[in-house]
């Protein structure tokens, strides 16, 4: 794992129109996706959304009903996992309990029938890479969860895969260790230039680590883009809700302005940045992030939702308010420093936002 051009190492992965059914249940439906060589890509979605199945299809663990996977342009078809340029880090790690740390990591190299000397050297390097130097003789049952996690990583990386598949590898770790491992995974990915395809249900994890994120639900890929873009312009109601916190106001497009739309919702009128597909009379949802909602007791009129504070929660650098404005519930996260005025439950305030800080999403 020494000098090599990172750009050249990670393979380009393309999924074309894959469909996987389990009996009558469609796990993955017509998903197409192109992942660049050396990219850190995350598949994000709630459990049962098809993200793990998609990953397993790339690894060759599932027989698909339709479509194909291309690794560096080569159709994989029914190529078994042992003949693909991919390696997988399994959710439950799947370390071999009858082997030592060393033997676990050496497994893939032994399968390649490499000479012992090379195996020793590469296992040593892999263990250094995941900071497990000196633990090679330990049994799998004698090391901690975090260390097992690193062994699983080393066992996959030692083979120098062109694509590393990771199936919620950090889900068993506690928060602190998880954050630490997230950083290490990012570092490893940068250093090795391997294409990482990472499956997670944790949107924070996906946003923090990935170059791009694909959001899945119900077997379909809903949106693909860099974390910032997905946060700023969620494609639909589901994505808006799943990524970060969101206020979602359902209504009907009343009129179009230069860069904004005006939405009529339950007696209130709100504005959001125009996406292009909106037409007057159409049903739409306005999405605005809580930290972009301003509260002002003196403000009223067009674009302002008047209401009473229903709940207040202090969480360090922000104060979170919930406002009852007629049938609507509006969340606002107000930055807090010493001296910031606080509203009390029951106070009447106006909530408003800059139209450029909100977007319309389809109501799906």
């Amino acid at each position: 794992m020494t000098e090599h051009d990172p750009r050249a190492h990670g393979a380009h992965v393309e999924i074309r129109n894959i469909t996987k059914r389990y009996g009558a249940v469609v796990a993955v439906e017509a998903v197409s996706l192109a992942i660049q060589g050396g990219e850190f890509f995350s598949l994000l979605g709630p459990s049962g959304c098809g993200k793990t199945t998609t990953l397993r299809v790339i690894g060759g663990f599932e027989v698909i009903d339709d479509g194909d996977v291309y690794i560096d342009g080569q159709a994989m078809g029914k190529t078994p996992p042992n003949r693909r340029a991919t390696n997988m880090v399994f959710q439950r790690l799947a370390l071999f309990p009858h082997y030592s740390v060393y033997d676990n990591v050496a497994f893939g190299l032994r399968m390649q029938r490499l000479p012992d000397r090379e195996i020793r050297q590469r296992v040593g390097e892999a263990l250094d890479l995941v900071q497990l130097t000196g633990l090679d003789r330990r049994r799998i049952t004698e090391i901690s969860g975090g260390q097992q996690q690193r062994v699983a990583l080393a066992r996959a990386l030692v083979n120098r895969p062109r694509v590393l598949l990771l199936d919620e590898p950090l889900s068993a770790l506690d928060l602190k260790l998880r954050l630490q491992m997230q950083e290490e995974l990012k570092r490893l990915q940068r250093e090795l230039g391997t294409t990482f395809i990472y499956v997670t249900h944790d949107q924070g994890e996906a946003l923090a680590m990935s170059d791009r994120v694909g959001v899945m639900n119900g077997g379909r890929l809903l949106q693909v883009g860099p974390p910032l873009e997905i946060y700023e312009r969620p494609a639909n109601r589901f994505v808006a809700n799943f990524i970060g916190d969101a206020n979602l106001v359902d209504g009907v497009v009343e009129s179009l302005e230069q860069d904004a739309i005006v939405l009529r919702a339950d007696g209130a009128r709100v504005r959001a940045q125009r996406q292009g597909w909106e037409r007057p009379g159409q049903a739409a949802t306005v999405c605005v992030r809580p930290e972009r909602v301003h509260l002002d007791p003196g403000r009223a009129g067009d674009g302002v939702l008047r209401g009473r504070i229903e709940d207040r929660a202090f969480s360090g650098y922000v104060v979170k308010y919930r406002l009852a404005a007629g049938p609507l519930r509006v969340q606002a996260a107000v930055p807090y420093t010493r001296g910031t005025p606080l509203y009390e439950v029951g106070d009447e305030v106006g909530a408003w936002w800059d139209a450029r800080q909100a977007v319309t999403v389809t109501a799906e």
């Binding site: 690894g59 663990f61 078994p80 996992p81 042992n82 991919t86 390696n87 997988m88 399994f90 959710q91 439950r92 799947a94 370390l95 071999f96 309990p97 009858h98 497994f107 893939g108 399968m111 390649q112 066992r155 996959a156 083979n159």
Partner: protein, 282 residues
Amino acid sequence: MRLTGRTTLWLLAPALVLMAVLYVIPLGVYLINGFHEFRDGRILSVWTLRTYAAYFTDPFSYRVIGTSLRLSLVVTLLAIVIGYPVAYALHTRVKGAAAKTAIALLLFSPLLVSVVVRTYGWLILLAGQGLVNTTLRALGVISEPISLLFNMRGVVISLTHILLPFAIFPIYSVMGRLDPSLKEAARDLGAGWRDTFLHVTLPLTMPGVVAGALICFTLALSAFVTPQLLGGGRVQVLPLAVYNSTVEINWPGGAVAGLSLLIISMAAVRALNALLRRLPTA
């Protein structure tokens, strides 16, 4: 809930009483006979080690022990070698709980038939003009009938048949507890079917193999009806020796032979249990 010592004792009491009354006490009473002597058709109530001395200096005793060990080892080995692929197929190829249950029932069905009936069944099948010989001749495998009755072969065939489920189910149950992603991990790391089996599945299912072997070996060692009926007096094993001595009222001789059977069984259980503890669990 943690049980107190007293509660545990009460829960164990029925089993302990049963074991004491029906097993430990009769066994003790019988084994005491070993320290008496059988001469001129009657038991002499003297305290002596002569029966032991006679038993352990008689070459026939060792032949019987040897036959017993050979029979049990061969049967155990065959049951495991035949049973392992069956368990593997049941685990990997048979889909659906209903199909698995049906096949499991089928495999266990020989146990629902009385040992005597089953053994007579084998007598018919293994006879010179029986189904096995006629089939083998029809297929051209043999030209003359082979003798499968009243020798070791018939006993081995029949015992292996009946002990097969005891080999299959411990192995099958360990396979079921194996994390399926272990096999996937091996495949992912470049292992083909053969390497996956040799380096992952087989070592991790060894606890099932050892447990199955333990059951088969002890059951084969204590088998009585099958060697009696299919061996035709030519397969002299320890249980038969004990039985023959006992019907001749030679209780002292039977007791000593019985004790050697007990010691061999216990040694096998100990050895295989020690092996079981050393094996990794998945």
